[in-house]
């Protein structure tokens, strides 16, 4: 089961989170990095199913930016690519 976590950027370190001064909960959130920026992909090919699949979890909806960490520009390109691939039945519209 590859989906869900697949879209998360491979960002490491650079922890963001409140340091509890008075023994409050300390939690670090891994910083999300846009996969496309990291991998320097500036053209999302609708034929590259393997790439697109990382951004469509089980339900086959497009993984939102807030979860995947993709930047706005690349999310736009991704959206376009996914929609083209869907039209050609390379990836599903929705699955139950």
């Amino acid at each position: 089961m590859p989906p869900r976590s697949g879209g998360r950027g491979a960002g490491r370190g650079a922890a963001k989170g409140a340091k509890g001064a008075k023994g409050k909960k300390v939690f670090y959130r891994r910083r999300k990095v846009c996969k496309f920026c990291a991998d320097k992909i500036d053209y999302v090919d609708y034929k590259d199913v393997k790439l697109l699949q990382q951004f469509i979890p089980e339900r086959s909806k497009i993984l939102p930016r807030r979860i995947s960490g993709t930047c706005a520009r690349h999310q736009r390109l991704l959206q376009q690519g996914i929609k083209r691939a869907r039209h050609l039945a390379l990836i599903p519209f929705a699955t139950d």
């Binding site: 992909i41 500036d42 053209y43 034929k47 869907r86 039209h87 050609l88 990836i91 599903p92 519209f93």
Partner: protein, 133 residues
Amino acid sequence: MRTYELVFVVDPRVSDEEVVELTGEYKQMLTGGGLVIAREESWGRRKLAFPIHKLTEGKYVVLYLSSEDGTRTLADVEHRMNQNDKVLRYLSVRTDLDLKRAGRPQLPEPIGEGTPAVAGERAAEGGRSGREE
């Protein structure tokens, strides 16, 4: 120069020879309209992500085209595909601007016409993106 990609999915019940024939017909139309076929890929039989007309498979053909100036031929070919029941889906995309922006070569390296399906696809993936597997 403008470049385009034209993908179409053919009914799997259509024989391979017929697919080649059909592709040839479209290619003839395209070249007749001043388009150059830079590369042709045949992915062969492939499972569809969802059934189309109750079919679960389709035969994919990809054409990479280029033209010096705008053309109307592509629209005519699309029209023909639309009328042909054997063509389940088609998609044509103009790619030069996006590829240019991404700093990618706008024309794929040509391989021989009618290259075997698997080899063609693999070569394509390797060529399109430097990151394989």
